[in-house]
Amino acid sequence: MTEASRARAEILADIRSANRRSAALPPADETWETLPRAYRQTGALSPADCIELLAERLRDYGAGVVLVAPHQVADAIADILRRRNQSSVLVAPDVDPAWLNSAECSWVRDRPLSYEALSGVDGVLTGCTAAIAATGTLCLCHSDSSQGRRAPTLIPDYHLCVVRAGQIVENVPQGMRALEPYRNQPITLISGPSATADIEMTRIQGVHGPRTLDVAIVV
């Protein structure tokens, strides 16, 4: 037996002897099904109230939020990017090409780009896989058909996320249910711009991740 497999065998044996499990114990899966889950797993709010709650919670974190009608998304994006002085913006795979009509902004595709190249991009534009209203959380799943690689949503200093009304759920259990199909993929949950309160408990927005986060909710 190698040293590595001996360590594994010893730890597992120690656990078994510590647990003194009887052979009659039902399988783990069966017992797991019976665990108490009396917490809320469904929503109680109307879709309109959910949108309002999401917007409120996001603003609470210091994110910029705008509500836009479906036919105004492209104009809204152009407007936001102009206000934020964004001249080069990386576009995630899930972004609808119809949203990209800003003349002032150059759109960048992740071909994939090197980290140095990503450092030279102003911001990133993505959609999301789900958004959780109660916690103001944007759920990104990282694959070619969704929000793309992780690095492009991390290195640029600015992130604009477009949320469609149908992607909004009320609470965390509903959100995790929506993410379940993507559970083997990298997932990033984003709740406001990066922040720290490590110095005298003063909340400072923006440390290493994008320091500015804007969200456009399509209603």
Binding site: A18, L35, R37, A38, L154, P173, L189, I199, M201, P210
Partner: protein
């Protein structure tokens, strides 16, 4: 547990007495714990199902421990199938050897995400001894590292430092003489200091908040984005996790991700949660290792009355709520894990050979149990461990305290003896009762009690005496 960083520690009362004289430290600790606690209370109150979530949190953790072998094997198999490498470490030395071995190919330095477990095994010292420089990337950990200091809180490890102190430290170590002392200035300095290190360091070492058996995935919860940087940019990622960190299924995160952020920082959700499973071609590290650490956790598991210590998800809520911690701060505990959870975890992880004074560093008020998101009954475990500490004392060397306890037992076992003792006590206490009606000073060993509190004298009549002498009545009214 490593003995290197905390070898000067004697016992809790000694270090507490010393630290209580540091007014600035006490002010900082008080401020930080007040802020987090009031934020926590606010966001917990808005959850109508908080108690149901705690019940589920407890049940999930207890269930996981019951089937720990099953879930760890499942995690290891699925993580390996997804392209990860799983290593098993029986103790701190073995874990350090594994991580150092993996990091040796790095260019002399590794990035680190704040991890209590790496503190527990003294990983930074092991890396330095091998000529590898660990770069702490969490702002507070960076402050601790640059200042050759020690973390004092699970969630905000540098809460004992004021911003003027941080400014001086950064100005000196980052060579920024013009640096301002607003928190914004200091955060910006850390961002610039770390940016090129993030982009150019090929290896990162992280802890793990949760391992998911069902998927072989790992979850890391953070605020600053330094975690995402370390998990995404380097070529190689090494995650060190206690064997207690496993969760059965992806779905269990819906409970933990509600309990942890609200309890830890008083936020509805922390800014960033990262989840990944093994290696993802073209995205993130292309070499991924998980080191599963025992380091006496299986011994904790063996103690039926203390094993729920392993439920802990390291939120730090018990520290903020603890009236003892709030006075002394974390350093008084002389261990990586401070506060109520440290008082029960530290001695157990040291096989009761270190930190024996810690289970006594509590008034047993129960505030820690009240706030614990996974319902660890810390007061009960504290009492159980006090028992273990006392019974572990060598039987031959009978202390005065042990003798007194035995005499008490003998007195309490006989009614006549108890009556006699009460009568004697009433006579003996007379010279000590002040005009106020209280005993304010006692001689010798008993003085330990009256040093900080007054004592009510024995009453003139005991309940039994009153019962025997009461006038006969005509039966129940």
């Amino acid at each position: 547990m490593s003995t290197v960083p905390y070898r000067e520690f004697v016992d809790f009362p000694t270090s507490a007495l010393l630290l209580l004289q540091d007014n600035q430290l006490r002010g900082n600790v008080r401020h930080a714990t007040d802020v987090i606690q009031s934020k926590r209370d606010r966001v917990v109150r808005e959850m109508p199902d908080w108690q149901a979530l705690r019940d589920s949190g407890y049940a999930i953790r207890a269930h996981t421990l019951d089937y720990l072998d099953t879930y760890l094997e499942q995690f290891a198999d699925r993580c390996t199938a997804a392209g990860g490498h799983v290593h098993w470490a029986r103790d701190a030395a073995e874990a350090n050897r594994i991580v150092v071995g993996l990091a040796r190919n790095a260019t002399g330095r590794v990035l680190k995400i704040k991890s209590m477990t790496s503190e527990e095994i003294g990983l930074n010292d092991a890396l330095l001894a091998a000529g590898i420089e660990p770069i702490e990337t969490d702002l507070a950990e960076l402050i601790v590292q640059l200042g050759h200091d020690r973390p004092s809180h699970i969630v905000v490890p540098a809460l004992h430092k004021s911003r003027q102190q941080v400014r001086e430290l950064f100005a000196r170590t980052m060579n920024l003489p013009e640096l301002g002392d607003r928190p914004e200035d200091l955060t910006e300095a850390a961002r610039l200091y770390l940016r090129h290190r993030f982009l150019n360091t090929p290896v990162a070492v992280s802890g793990a908040n949760f391992l998911i058996a069902e998927t072989g995935g790992v979850c890391i919860v953070e605020s600053e984005g330094n975690g995402r940087m370390c998990l995404t940019l380097p070529r190689t990622l090494i995650s060190l996790a206690g064997i207690d960190k496993v969760l059965p299924r992806f779905r269990d995160l819906e409970v933990m991700l509600q309990l942890l952020p609200r309890s830890a920082t008083g936020e509805r959700m922390n800014p960033y949660n990262s989840l990944w499973t093994g290696v993802h071609p073209g995205d993130g590290p292309q070499e991924f290792h998980v080191v599963l650490l025992d380091n006496r956790r299986t011994e904790v598991l063996r103690d039926q009355q203390a094993r729920e210590t392993l439920h802990c998800i390291r939120c730090g809520a018990c520290q903020n709520a603890c009236p003892v911690y709030r006075q002394t701060g974390g350093h008084a505990y002389g261990s990586v894990y401070a506060g109520p959870i440290g008082a029960i975890l530290t001695p157990q992880l040291a096989s009761m050979k270190r930190g024996q004074s810690l289970p006594f560093a509590s008034s047993l008020c129960g505030a820690c149990y009240e706030v614990c998101p996974v319902k660890i009954n810390i007061p009960e475990v504290l009492i159980h461990l006090r028992g273990r500490v006392v019974s572990a004392k060598p039987a031959g060397g009978l202390t005065l305290e042990a003798l007194a306890m035995r005499a008490m037992l003998w007195v309490f076992l006989g009614e006549a003896r108890l009556k006699m003792a009460q009568r004697l006590g009433r006579i003996a206490q007379r010279p000590f009762i002040r005009a106020s009606g209280w005993i304010e000073w006692l001689p010798g060993m008993l003085g330990g009690w009256t040093q900080t509190r007054d004592l009510q004298p024995l009453p003139r009549q005991s309940f039994r005496e009153w019962f025997e002498r009461r006038p006969p009545s005509g039966g129940p009214e």
